[in-house]
Symmetry: C2
DNA sequence: ATGAAAGCGCTAACAT
DNA sequence: ATGTTAGCGCTTTCAT
């Protein structure tokens, strides 16, 4: 049978209330009693019963603050679905979600969102927004105040967050390289649309791609790396120019960037369907591109799983004190073709 | 605030005990009281609180019986991991797992396993074994006795099971076709190793593959379909013979069958790495084949997710009475290349 | 046939 | 500083 606080209390010769105080770090316990209880907890391998906790939390559920981009960012739709699924499963487990939608281009806004959550008394935070020094500082403060933080989809590095749930970006780049190598003849010219080097995701994917190519002795020729291609116009202009400069181009890897712009540039140059395209994620325009046989492969990062797992990991942390299995929890990276839809 | 049995009881002018009896279909409630309670339950949109239920079930947890192949079948390792993960999350939710490992070639043994679980009083069953008339009959009996059954990984069709959690086999075949089409030149000769037509998985995958090819106007020539290739010897002999008969063969799709045998046959014929191979799943020999660049692509069905979701769906069914979202719950079908490992 | 009440493990308000 | 106790929602035993 499982160990309960009652048994701990008996063995320690104190009341259940005291054990509860010790376990939840509340003030008002003599240090020696505290230590005795803790050692017994350790010795008996006590793990709290979640049903019991959940029931006790019914009146005032623990609040999980979630910082993420606003609802019109479609990429986050699937992530939100994953969060909803986990939330539905945890509906009676004593937690309540509080969303903070922030524009992820503004560092202060992001840090401010975390600050507000902390001040409003949340007991756990899920964060998917900008990686910035102000944000890092706020996350560290939250953790110091005993509020666990889990980042998802895009990480905040070098801070005290418990873990990150998201994609292995480097692997994503390597996979793209592997695909290109398989579908193009040796020596073919390709271009890489890096996107914006300020973003870790763009950089690391490109690195994974170029490293893999190098490791294979460069079976393909990376004839152009297009940077600063974030918005439609940038991307269109750059891709259009590249297509004109490099008439023999046979493939494009979009580490990210505006896919619609790339497709439009291809179409305008009469190259749609002729140049092999590998990109990331599964937005509506990418599904269309796959169906139209303009995009050959897209590499997906299981966003629903990212939402689902991050909430579960945080719940475990908050209610069981269970540390995540790893600091970086990667969701499966898989390859989609039109037939996958 | 949530509706509780207490509120139902008040509104119906009965005691909580009576409401409980009605909700759990226990005998000893006058029909008119019963109806009144039920209509109020309906009207107030009552959903049981899982923490409350879980706590009440602590003393004698509900037993989930799991019928699956024995532990030495490595393919099920990942599925077992998924089940374990779900079980860990549900550890305090009032259930206990009871495994029944059966040889999935023997219909009576499989049916018998289900029978024993039912007789031993389990309250839910997870089944992943043979699809057979005896099994179907036993599953129907279980369901008639109020014990929900969920099949996973391989379905049992035309029976009263609540749902199936597993792969979309037809899509898996189409994806294989899509890959072959992309990596081979038009008109190339390929072979399909069907495996054993007795198994639905083998048949349906092959059908998905050939249907897709047909729909595209047969860009590749299916020069040979190898049946009855279950064990090493069969597969080796057939593939070896095919390689000798068709010297121009450029690709092989293994809907299933013994991959090691296929690789050995390729090696002995000096064709390893020259003929493009697409297969299924991620067994150790397939990982090796990918790394050695003998296998080009493998199509994976997310077995861990199958284990995880099937247990969660069954739990919802048992404790919330929540019907699954669909009768067929498909886990993601994704494509792996060596870089995916 | 139905009501009353104890108990599942934990928390928190109240006592001491 | 520590003990006591009343719930949290549901099941189940014991009365009636």
């Amino acid at each position: 049978m499982k160990v309960t606080i009652r048994q701990i209390a008996e063995k320690a010769g104190v009341s259940r209330g005291t054990v509860d105080r010790v376990l939840n770090g509340r003030y008002g316990v003599k240090p020696d009693v505290r230590d005795r209880v803790l050692s017994i907890v350790e010795e008996m391998n006590y793990v709290p019963n979640l049903a019991g906790k959940a029931l006790a939390y019914q009146k005032k559920p623990a609040v999980v603050g979630i910082v993420m981009p606003p609802e019109h960012i479609r990429f986050f739709d699937q992530i939100r679905e994953g969060i909803s699924l986990a939330a539905a499963e945890l509906k009676d487990m004593g937690l309540r979600l509080e969303f903070q939608y922030v524009d992820s281009t503004q560092p202060e806004k992001c840090a401010q969102a975390v600050r507000e959550l902390v001040n409003s008394g949340v007991q756990g935070i899920l964060y998917a927004s900008l990686d910035d020094s102000q944000v890092r500082a706020m996350i560290d403060e939250a953790v110091d105040r005993g509020i666990p933080v889990v980042t998802f989809n895009s990480d905040v590095e070098d801070c005290k967050r418990a873990c990150f749930v998201g994609q292995d970006l480097y692997k994503s780049g390597s996979i793209a390289a592997g695909l290109m190598k398989r579908i193009l003849p040796r020596g073919a010219q390709i271009a890489v649309v890096l996107g914006n080097p300020k973003f870790q995701a763009h950089r690391v994917r490109t690195l994974g791609f170029t490293d893999a190519m190098k490791a294979w002795g460069n079976p393909l020729e990376i004839a152009s790396v297009i940077e600063i291609a974030d918005r439609y116009e940038d991307t269109f202009t750059h891709v259009d120019e590249t297509l004109k400069t490099l008439p023999d181009l046979e493939g494009i890897y979009l580490a990210t960037g505006d896919i619609a712009a790339c497709i439009d540039a291809l179409r305008l140059n009469g190259k749609a369907g002729q140049i092999r395209i590998v990109c990331n994620d599964l937005l509506p325009e990418i599904e269309q591109g796959l169906k139209d046989n303009i995009i050959d492969f897209t590499i997906v990062q299981n966003p629903e799983q990212q939402g689902y797992r991050s909430l579960r990991v945080l719940y475990d942390l908050m209610f069981s004190g269970k540390q995540p299995d790893a600091e970086l929890i990667y969701t499966a990276t898989s390859i989609y073709i039109p037939e996958s839809l």
